[in-house]
């Protein structure tokens, strides 16, 4: 087997193993099944032409996810449509305190004493739709880490941001998600008013 054959075999194996993950991330980026399929195909072709730039094979996943994301950016640049982004600075205690100050008191009270059953009652579709409503930078960070199992370093490589920003986005994104799920559940009557921290 030549060196080229060996690279081809490695690439094919990695694509086969990561089809679902590539499609899953593409779906979150494009929000359309057909567009996601085209995006994955385009990214795979680009990845193959750039395979020599992959220096460490153990970093294949963050490397190809980054190509996928860049292909998507090129697409929306062509269409002059940019996803809405909200810029936040890297986090520290003050930023977290400000974030928590933004939340309603009854949410914070519930979050300090949540019902486990709440998460059993909230449907998977609700969780998905609330993730979809998050600003793109939080949505992608949560998907890459909580769904695709990337480390913070790998997610930082995909998103082209420092590791500290990944950590900050996880914190803010997950808090926003908690709050939106809580609001949904409250409207659906799954969360009850409490007196002195106890469920009525």
């Amino acid at each position: 087997m030549t060196k080229r054959d060996e690279i081809r075999a490695f690439f094919s194996r990695e694509i086969e193993d990561n089809m679902d993950a590539l499609y899953g991330v593409a779906l979150r980026l494009t929000r359309s099944g057909a567009d996601a399929e085209d995006l994955v195909a385009e990214a795979v072709i680009k990845a193959w032409t750039a395979i020599n730039t992959l220096e460490d094979r153990s970093r294949f996943r963050p490397w190809i996810f980054r190509i996928l994301r860049n292909c998507n950016i090129s697409q929306y640049r062509k269409q002059s449509v940019r996803p809405v982004e909200t810029r936040y600075e890297d986090g520290d205690d003050e930023e977290l305190a400000a974030l928590l100050n933004e939340q309603p008191d009854d949410f914070l009270m519930w979050w300090a004493n949540p019902e486990r059953e709440f998460f059993n009652d909230v449907l998977g579709e609700t969780i998905l739709s609330e993730i979809e409503r998050l600003p793109e930078e939080f949505r992608m960070t949560i998907i890459l880490i909580n769904v695709e199992g990337l480390t913070y370093d790998e997610a930082a490589e995909v998103l082209d941001i420092p590791r500290g920003t990944v950590r900050s986005r996880m914190k803010r994104g997950r808090t926003l998600l908690q709050k939106s799920l809580w609001q949904q559940a409250k409207e659906a009557g799954l969360i009850h008013d409490r007196v002195d921290g106890n469920q009525q």
């Binding site: 081809r8 998460f119 909230v122 950590r167």
Partner: protein, 85 residues
């Protein structure tokens, strides 16, 4: 230099919440920080409870969001793999 005992009393709820996701995602490497976080969790019911549901939510997110590549895409990618051979 702070003693281990002093370290264990340094962390408050705000710092614990700050470290929640990094801890749950296995992203804290410093043993002292891990020890401080875990010490706080053992002694603070509210933070323990928050961390408990965060773990549950992480699992629900992972379960709800896994996508399966459609067969058409799988075939398309396999055709592409054939083309590069």
């Amino acid at each position: 230099m702070k003693t281990k005992e002093t370290h264990q009393h340094d962390i408050g709820c705000l710092q614990a919440i700050e470290a929640f996701y990094a801890y749950l995602d296995g992203e804290i490497e410093d043993p002292t920080s891990i020890e401080e976080f875990e010490h706080h969790m053992r002694h603070c019911r509210s933070c323990y409870s928050r961390a408990d549901v965060e773990k549950l939510l992480s699992q629900r997110i992972a379960d709800s969001s896994k996508a399966k590549a459609p067969e058409l895409l799988q075939n398309r990618l396999r055709d592409l793999m054939e083309e590069i051979k």
